[in-house]
């Protein structure tokens, strides 16, 4: 019997613990598929961070290190500097990367660390159950912005991709979405390009994924996808912010 | 038995820290136990700087000196700060080109040397502290001229070795004051 589909070798057999409608599972699979297709599973070290994906070291079948909140880019810097031949990636959420770890991501990018960062932006803190994130939209209700995020007391959302693309050391920055098959395929291409940038030793590469959190948004999965498309994309436009013409 | 503690003090930039290090390097060449401890921090930039050097035949206890045997003062604040701490019978050496007052203590040996003038005659103010080291060597026997010369070869980069004769000259001029 012909095998028409099988799970990528980049993932272990452990079932995901993520909520229904969460995009982490898709992003994990895309990264894992790319690692398998590029034949780099054996020479990749991933860095898990703090958030719902804290234990994705159980899911990815490459060597994995778990880092403290926000510190994944610093941990990855250490790994890459002593293992320059290996491929190193961080997997971070918006609270981790854009709030507590702002310094680490900015400086890793500024130094042009030859690592890939996969940044998952779902506009909310997931693991701690629905608090306001730096990427929370204006007006968005969370447990710590119960009347909706107001700019006066809670400031404005941070557009990480745009911000990091101003740094010389960041050579490839792209924001992608996952709300349909076409976008998922584009996201996969972005992941592969980020790894190729690292392989070529060009500098820092980041892919930002617009993602959903049906549980903490209080929406059905399909509703959440619509919300992501309608509300998040205007604030976080898709596209390549750095390295559009980069041929790798 | 040799067991000397020296405090060298002056303004930052006068070279007291390096002079202290040269004294320690010279004594080390003779196989003596040595320690060097600097003042550190913002005062290094223009304020007062000092270092403590201990030279001994025995293993050294504290590198921090409360009662020095010798005080080398390159400015007046340093003389005022450390004069009272000197051991009875100790030696105070000053650069009399810069320090215009004499110590009040009478239970010590006082050696004023116009070392800055001597240094400028030799062509560089850097020799001022070397003149004073020459005096320390001759007055205490803590280290010899021979080991000082060897230390110069060790410490100075080769492109500076042409300065060694002038350094020795400065050293000898200082030594003369010890015997006056």
């Amino acid at each position: 019997m012909a095998v028409v589909f099988q799970k990528t070798k980049g993932l272990t057999d452990k079932p995901f613990h993520y909520c229904p409608g969460c995009m982490h599972g898709i992003i994990h699979r895309l990264i894992a598929e790319v690692m398998e297709e590029m034949d780099i599973l054996d020479k990749t070290i991933g860095v898990a961070s703090v958030g719902c994906t804290y234990n994705n070291y159980d899911y990815f079948s490459c060597d994995m290190v778990q880092a403290a909140h926000g510190r994944a880019p610093a941990v990855a810097t250490g790994i890459k500097r002593c293992k320059p031949e290996e491929m190193v990636f961080t997997y971070q959420g918006d609270g981790d990367l854009a709030s507590i770890g702002t310094a680490e991501i900015v400086h890793a990018a500024a130094r042009g660390e030859k690592i890939c960062t996969f940044f998952v932006n779902n506009a909310v803190y997931g693991m701690t159950s629905g608090q306001m994130a730096p990427t929370t939209l204006l007006g968005q209700v969370t447990t710590t912005s119960p009347l909706g995020r107001d700019a006066e007391t809670r400031g404005y959302p941070i557009n990480v991709s745009e911000m990091l693309s101003t740094l010389t050391g960041a050579v490839y920055i792209e924001r992608v979405a996952l709300f349909d098959y076409k976008h998922i395929q584009e996201a996969k291409k972005a992941i592969a390009k980020a790894f190729r940038v690292q392989q070529a030793g060009l500098g820092f590469a980041m892919v930002e994924f617009l993602s959903t959190c049906p549980t903490n948004w209080g929406k059905e999965p399909i509703e959440a996808l619509e919300w992501c498309k309608e509300k998040m994309v205007p604030q976080y436009p898709l596209g390549v912010f750095k390295g559009k013409d980069l041929e790798v | 038995m040799i067991d000397f503690s020296i405090i060298l003090a002056g303004f930052g930039g006068q070279g007291v820290l390096s002079a202290g290090k040269m004294a320690a390097e010279s004594a080390l060449i003779e196989g003596k136990e040595v320690s060097w401890f600097p003042s550190y921090g913002p005062e290094m930039r223009g304020g007062t700087a000092n270092c403590s050097v201990v030279i001994s035949d025995e293993p050294i206890g504290s590198p921090v000196i409360n009662e020095p045997d010798v005080l080398i003062a390159l400015n007046q604040p340093s003389l005022e700060k450390f004069e009272d701490t000197l051991k009875p019978g100790g030696i105070i050496i000053i650069d009399s080109s810069l320090v215009k007052v004499a110590p009040k203590r009478t239970d010590i040996r006082f050696i004023p040397i116009n070392s800055s003038e001597i240094a400028s005659e030799l062509g560089s103010m850097a020799y001022a502290t070397i003149v004073l080291l020459g005096c320390v060597s001759a007055a205490t026997g803590a280290f010899t001229r021979d080991s000082f010369e060897k230390a110069l070869y060790d410490v100075l980069p080769e492109r500076r070795h042409h300065m060694i004769p002038n350094n020795l000259n400065a050293f000898d001029k200082g030594a003369e004051f010890a015997n006056k």
Binding site: D42, C62, D63, M64, A68, R71, A103, E104 | W36, P63
Partner: protein
């Protein structure tokens, strides 16, 4: 013949680390330890290593975490306020059981405090520092030669027990110069680290480095494992130097800089006919409790004098060890001041006369 050079304490640590096979240094500038970073910046590239000035102490300790997880020898250094910032990472290193060398060249606190020597981080270093039930090996050298030798040993101990080894110095130890006799070759062996995340390269199972155990039973089991390791260290790795204990009437407890000052005091006391000995802990954790207990049982010993650059931190461990058998007195200075020999001698005379 061994090469003898006059060297600053801070530089001796750096040179020793490189000789121990530590080729990765991450740090952030802070007085009075910056010579370590400067030496590394100058020397590492020539010796095939990596020096990186991090954006913060927090980033530096996490870079250390990354390298340690990869199985390479690695270090960072700082001074008190910077070490406080590193505590998060130190706790993670403890939880993930990663070996690393951390140097604290202490200065006075709390807060920004001052830049002059202090021993006021004893509690932080020996009792945990960060969150959770963990220990670091804490080593307190008292000379530049010891800084060199104990730095080499620190890397071996860190590797052997998969944990953080901290060199606890202070501004005096770091800034002073003394002769160091370097060996031609260090007798240090880097042991195999099959647990490291190196990339699998054909290894069957992927390695993971983590400190998170969500299930309370798993976390308790992990803690029991750590505690078992700590008990083994307390049995096997205690280091101290006892001197002049024969017929000693008063015994000084002091480490690092204070022990150096006290050496002079012991000579001066002898001139006054007072027999003073000293127990100098070299490992602050594990603490030489048995030695203090033994000395407390000596009939000649009337009491102890604990001398520190703090308001009295190590004294708690001394008192626990002495266990009320003899009085333990204290003399300390704070804020970056050092006690004078006379101050300490006066205390000894008072104790000797029974005036305390």
């Amino acid at each position: 013949m061994a090469e003898v050079v006059l060297m600053k304490g801070n530089e001796a640590i750096a040179e020793s680390a490189i000789r121990s096979g530590c080729l990765y240094y991450f740090g952030y500038p802070i007085t009075p330890q910056t010579e370590i970073a400067a030496y590394m910046a100058k020397t590492m590239p020539k010796r095939g290593g990596v020096f990186l000035q991090a954006e913060s102490e927090i980033a530096a300790i996490n870079m250390v975490y990354g390298v340690a997880g990869s199985g390479k020898r690695v270090m960072t250094s700082s001074s008190s306020p910077g070490i406080s910032l590193k505590q998060e990472g130190i706790s993670y290193l403890a939880g993930s059981e990663l070996p690393a060398l951390i140097v604290n060249v202490q200065r006075g606190g709390p807060g920004l405090g001052g830049i002059q020597p202090s021993q006021s981080d004893y509690f932080q270093a020996t009792k945990g520092g960060g969150h959770g039930d963990y220990r670091n090996l804490v080593i307190a050298p008292a000379s530049v030669q010891e800084l060199y030798e104990l730095t080499v040993k620190s890397f071996d101990l860190a590797d052997k027990y998969r944990m953080v080894c901290m060199i606890l110095g202070d501004g005096t130890i770091g800034q002073m110069m003394e002769p160091v006799a370097f060996k031609e070759k260090e007798d240090t062996v880097e042991i195999a680290k099959p647990w490291a995340t190196t990339g699998m390269h054909g290894r069957e199972k992927h390695n993971t480095i983590t400190s998170i155990y969500i299930d309370p039973d798993d976390l308790e089991a992990k803690n029991r494992e750590l505690q078992e390791k700590y008990r083994e260290i307390e049995e096997k790795e205690v280091m101290f130097e006892s001197s002049n204990l024969e017929d000693a009437e008063i015994v000084i407890a002091a480490y690092g800089t204070c022990s150096r000052i006290c050496k002079n005091v012991i000579r001066q006391a002898a001139e006054l006919g007072i027999k003073v000995g000293m127990v100098r802990p070299i490992t602050l954790w594990p603490f030489p409790s048995k030695e203090f207990a033994r000395v407390a049982d000596m009939p000649s010993v009337k009491g102890f004098l604990d001398v520190e650059l703090s308001s009295g931190q190590m004294i708690e461990d001394v008192r626990l060890a002495v266990n009320g058998k003899k009085p333990v007195y204290f003399h300390g200075r704070m804020g970056g001041n050092l006690p004078t020999q006379k101050e300490i001698l006066d205390e000894i005379v008072k104790i000797h006369k029974g005036e305390m």
